[in-house]
């Protein structure tokens, strides 16, 4: 099908874009990479009055290091992040996860900000943003604020941004030396949205027991789900295979309540969550231990 008619605006500055968004309110839609928005417009599931295209705002395309953080402009292409040596060095978990997002042709257009703002429950980046404790810089015509990733995701395709707010930048804290990380997912076909995925970040304390652990799932809830009970079981323990297995079982049984869809039923998703948790926790702990020995 073809999209319904709309007014098209291609602002050159953030201020211009924010003024347009303010004017149109709920009837205006931001167009970033278009890789999620345009399909829904082609199906006429979305029929915005106006599109505000951010592709001409140069100031939104950047990747830089600032105080041990990776700062990423909202319009930075997914492909650019995948290939960036800076990203690989300071946030290797992000580097490792990028190829799981769709296909190269889609990552050539798709943006970091678009994926984060779209809040698809099976998307990789929202789950990573929580695992990495990222913060989003959001502005409206009149106000600006930082939102932590944990407060940014509130439900199915829903963030805590208002319709007149725009995501401008994301800050990912660099992974400190001594931490370990891992991401894994299961999808029916490479590049498809995953049925379930898991990201883990681990710090080991003095003596090799687990200091901090963050385990986040995608595909098992309306938003990314943080496995808090699993984490609390593991903190303070030596990262043995048995301790990791116990935590992974807890994650699959207690931390999530998946619903089924045509791609996978709830029991299968729960099973995947347990298996993936065990894999990412094991790998993250091994990496953390490897760091320590250096």
């Amino acid at each position: 099908m073809k999209p319904a008619a709309f007014d098209y605006h291609a602002p050159r500055t953030v201020e211009e874009a924010l003024a347009l968004l303010w004017n149109y309110g709920e009837d205006g839609k931001i167009l970033a990479g278009g890789q999620s928005l345009v399909p829904t417009m082609n199906f006429r599931l979305t029929q915005p009055t106006a599109l505000i295209d951010l592709n001409g705002i140069e100031g939104l395309f950047f990747l830089r290091e600032d105080d041990d953080e990776l700062r990423c402009g909202a319009m930075t292409r997914q492909r650019e992040v995948e290939r960036s040596a800076l990203v690989k060095r300071i946030v290797p978990l992000l580097h490792e996860t990028m190829p799981h997002i769709a296909h190269a042709q889609i990552r050539n257009r798709g943006t970091i900000g678009g994926s984060l703002a779209h809040a698809d429950p099976t998307a990789e980046l929202p789950a990573l943003a929580i695992a990495l404790d990222a913060s989003m810089y959001v502005r409206s015509f009149t106000e600006a604020r930082w939102i932590s990733a944990r407060d940014y995701y509130v439900g199915l395709f829903t963030t805590s941004m208002q319709p007149d707010e725009m995501l401008l930048e994301v800050a990912f804290p660099g992974l400190p030396a001594g931490s370990g990380w891992a991401f894994e997912e299961v999808a029916r076909q490479k590049g498809n949205y995953a049925m379930c995925g898991a990201a883990a970040v681990v710090d080991l304390a003095e003596g090799g027991s687990v200091g901090n652990v963050t385990l986040v799932f995608l595909g098992v809830g309306e938003a990314p789900v943080e496995a808090e009970q699993a984490a609390s079981l593991l903190v303070g323990e030596k990262p043995t295979a048995a301790a990791i297995r116990a935590a992974s079982d807890a994650a699959a049984k207690l931390d999530i309540d998946p619903v089924g869809d045509i791609h996978a039923g709830p029991a299968f998703r729960r099973h995947l969550a347990g298996v993936l948790a065990e894999r990412v926790l094991t790998k993250a702990c091994e990496r953390a231990a490897g760091h320590e020995r250096q």
Binding site: M1, P3, A10, P39, Q105
Partner: protein, 160 residues
């Protein structure tokens, strides 16, 4: 309201007045008559509509023609550079029977142009990964993989 855009397609400049909702794929096929770019799904899944925009492979069904204003687009019609001879990748597909009905072929070829430039000697796994973004319902992909392997060799042998 229509907008005037100037786009270079296969090195030739075009100026047209278009509605903002016109997809780049439809602009190429209907407005300038280059029907080599195929449209399978119109939601980004099949890859048949893949073209190069400023040398990067993208889905033309997920871009509006107005967004190509001032850009360089390359379609399958631009592959042979205007000469009689087929592009080495087209040769590879011809030799190895990398197509049956041919519907998916233009999108696959356009995906492969930048891929083989960056990966002149790809492994089979890398070939299968790049092909994952293009759906072919005829071949079972085996012949396509072989065609890509031959194309890589032909590209390296290409004089100049």
């Amino acid at each position: 309201m229509e907008q005037t855009i100037s786009v270079s397609v296969n090195g030739r400049p075009y100026e047209r007045s278009v509605e903002p909702r016109l997809l780049l794929s439809d602009f190429l096929r209907h407005d300038i008559g280059l029907s080599g770019t195929h449209v399978g799904c119109e939601h980004g899944v099949c890859g048949a509509c893949t073209v190069l925009v400023d040398s990067a492979a993208v889905r033309s069904c997920l871009m509006f023609a107005v967004q190509a204003n001032g850009r360089e687009v390359t379609t399958v019609e631009g592959l042979d550079g205007g000469q009689e001879d087929l592009h080495p990748i087209q040769h590879g597909f011809w030799e190895k029977h990398g197509l049956q009905c041919g519907f998916c072929t233009p999108g696959i070829l356009m995906t492969l142009v930048p891929f083989l430039e960056e990966n002149p000697d790809p492994s089979e796994a890398e070939i299968r990964e790049i092909l994952s973004g293009n759906i072919c319902r005829c071949t079972g992909y085996q012949k396509i993989v072989e065609a890509v392997q031959l194309s890589a060799i032909l590209l390296q042998e290409k004089p100049g």
